[in-house]
């Protein structure tokens, strides 16, 4: 297992769209292990996409278990993830290992229904909410070449939303 260097904005590779994973062989297994090792040593990171280490494959990992009092599925390796359904909207703060020293407010779906393969290619479905759902939406954005910087909203708008919705 190797800890890989994380690309940081404005590296153009962060804005490219990742390809579906087809081959779940040894090379892919090594990539999964390396990504896990890289997340483990990153301070406070709750998720990571392969795009962030310069590999354009549709692979993300999330682990929000360090947050207290929330629902979660523990550490998950999500391959070729696809959001099937969204429910509700909530604004929240996000930071990104690829955008150091910047925190912004982003609106995400509160609950999602997700379909993804595990590291061996087995399809699974998940119902996720709160932080875990937010993290997965953030990571899937990475696979589509998007950063949370593309989705920032102002806090004043947040106040208006609370007032009128």
């Amino acid at each position: 297992m190797a800890v890989l260097p994380i690309l940081t904005y404005p590296d153009p590779r962060l804005q490219r769209v990742a390809e579906p994973v087809i081959d779940f062989g040894q090379n892919f297994q090594t990539l999964v292990d390396d990504l896990l090792a890289t997340l483990r040593v990153s301070a406070h990171g709750v998720g990571m996409a392969a795009t962030q280490v310069g590999v354009l494959q549709r692979l993300v990992i999330v682990d929000v278990s360090s947050k207290a009092n929330i629902k979660h599925h523990g550490l998950q390796v999500l391959v070729n993830p696809e959001i099937l359904d969204w429910q509700g909207f909530a604004s929240g703060r996000e930071g990104c290992l690829s955008v150091p020293d910047y925190i912004g407010t982003v609106i995400r779906a509160k609950k999602i229904q997700l379909k993804a393969q595990d590291r061996h290619g087995q399809w699974r479905e998940y119902a996720m909410e709160g932080y875990e759902a937010r993290a997965v939406q953030h990571e899937i954005d990475h696979l589509d070449g998007k950063l949370f910087l593309d989705r920032l909203v102002s806090k004043k708008r947040d106040l208006m939303l609370r007032q009128f919705i």
């Binding site: 990171g45 947050k67 929240g92 996000e94 932080y131 953030h138 990571e139």
Partner: protein, 171 residues
């Protein structure tokens, strides 16, 4: 380390103030740092960090056309600060209720007594002329636990108070 001016422009809100100001600065070779613009009650204010490459008098003279054209007041000071010196808030306080005098003063005093440092505050009046309501949103840094802050605001019985932790996830 770079040295910066903090430039503040205040006046009646009109379109294109920021565009004119920043164009004059850009044409004179000035570099901008961070900026923050606000509009409130038909008034406008913008704070701009401008890199200290000109003497203060020259910077003021440079902006004179925009000051005259839009009837603005201009304030320029040298600041100690630098870029990326944001304090990150960890607590958000939201208050709403029927509008009355003293809500802001009572809330902020109670928080101040608990050592709460306000980083951002904005408020709005909604509702009708006959039944106005007041909304106040504060973000800041607190070392006191959430329960203690809740306790400090518990005496304000005629308004709804919601205090929550702001935590950012790094993803």
């Amino acid at each position: 380390m770079k040295h910066w001016y903090m430039l503040t422009l205040v006046g009646k809100d009109q379109p294109n103030i920021v565009a004119h100001t920043t164009r004059l600065l850009y044409q004179a070779g000035c570099r901008l740092g961070e900026a923050n613009m606000n509009r409130l009650g038909g008034s406008f204010t913008v704070m701009l960090m401008v890199e200290k490459t000109l003497p203060k008098t020259a910077l003021k003279a440079l902006l004179q056309p925009v000051v005259e054209r839009f009837n603005l007041s201009l304030h320029v000071v040298v600041i100690e600060g630098d870029l990326h010196q944001h304090q990150i808030p960890n607590i958000c306080v939201r208050v709403h209720g029927a509008d009355r005098a003293g809500i802001v003063a009572q809330v902020t005093s109670a928080l101040a007594q608990k050592g709460f440092n306000i980083l951002e505050l904005c408020s709005d009046v909604g509702g009708s002329q006959e039944q106005p309501f007041y909304i106040l949103q504060i973000e800041g840094v607190a070392t006191a636990p959430l329960e203690e802050l809740q306790q400090a605001l518990a005496d304000l019985r005629d308004v709804q108070v919601e205090i929550s932790a702001i935590d950012a996830c790094i993803m």
